[in-house]
Symmetry: C2
Subunit: 228 residues, 2 copies
Amino acid sequence: MNRMLMQGSRERALLSRAGILADLESVEAEALRACSTVITSASHDILFQEGEPGVYFYSVLEGYVRLFRLNGEGREADIRICEPGDSFAECLIQAGGTYRYGAQSMDNTVLARFHIGKVRALLAEHPQIGTAIMRSLSLHLLSAMECLANDRMQTAPQRVAHYLLANCVEDGATTASLRLPFPKNLLARKLGLAPEALSRAFSTLKAAGVTVRGRFIAISDVNMLKRI
Amino acid sequence: MNRMLMQGSRERALLSRAGILADLESVEAEALRACSTVITSASHDILFQEGEPGVYFYSVLEGYVRLFRLNGEGREADIRICEPGDSFAECLIQAGGTYRYGAQSMDNTVLARFHIGKVRALLAEHPQIGTAIMRSLSLHLLSAMECLANDRMQTAPQRVAHYLLANCVEDGATTASLRLPFPKNLLARKLGLAPEALSRAFSTLKAAGVTVRGRFIAISDVNMLKRI
DNA sequence: CGAATATTTGAGGGCTATCAAACTGGGTGG
DNA sequence: CCACCCAGTTTGATAGCCCTCAAATATTCG
């Protein structure tokens, strides 16, 4: 399922995309690199299942990974969509034990896989690594809390408007546009919607000046969209 | 609004209830204590608002605090209910900036208030403090993710059943019971429900052997409840 | 005991999941 | 070059769930 890449300069270049390495001095970054392996996985591959012993945490270098939870029979809920630069399961460095959710590639994906035990052993020696992990955990916690608040407060069109406004680039005085980095069904999962609900949200937003053509989206009036 | 308590042995006893101090050696615990003040606040007092500069993080010693977010006009969503032992806003130690949500006492409350700048300065010297904070962040992140998954997957009766099963003590072979530590409207907020929806969920669960009398709840068959 | 606060119950409606079917676009092989 | 196929997306119809508002009832606290 996973293919391990040879060590080399290509891997180092890829690894530099891991957000968790971004704020580290070279000594600490090198120490973390020594705990890591670059792996690839194909779309729909399962990286790990809820309940398995948590041996590694990951950083997405290319592609997308969804984190999800299973409920009793069949039904599953998406928790988060990880994009390039994002890490996941690093909470196990301190919380230990087993994975609390499953992880599945949603594209041909390249990942850095860090050995949790080795990283934990670095913490006493390199407090800056602890700081980097704390920062990552803090940002994830804040975004999970925001997501929870949005789920409990916003309708589907509001969630979509919020996403568009957070991710668009302004073209002119009031116009803006963006290109979705992934298919709409992944956006639906990210926002906690059925794909049909996302589609309907887009059609509701037409009245607010949103035009959708495939992955390209144009916004005619940013301020109108903010009032949704 | 807040009353500052005199330093003394009573405060030290209270502070020991802060979960974040639990795993620390005495040297580190003492260093953290030196950054803290014990304060009290009355029910409905606002501890801080979303957007204010984040100067302190908190640990609940007695009472309950709700974290919430505001949306445009009037509407607000609860993110988390903090109980004795819980800390909140410690993500600002690394994420910095302003509070990303509001905090309100839901009872007469005693809190430990830690100065974020002072705690941050301790990290280089005391890696164990970093470890304790990482653990706290990790557990909060996991519980926020679980909450998100439950919101997206479970109906109101399922959420209530889940809460009951997680918090009850077994009396006999299949029977169990519990006493809610707070009023039902706080439980409703915690589960992301309107109070009416919680009430209806309880009445649905009667058929699964759940009896509610004020804050006391009896479960006649744990296994039946698990199948909801 | 009475006032204020919680909780329950009823009626109604909005929102989104679900199922089913039509449609789109790009890529394949003839 | 074109017909076909497939995955992704859109549209329609339906139903379930939960929020809202309103009123009745229970509980708590002074």
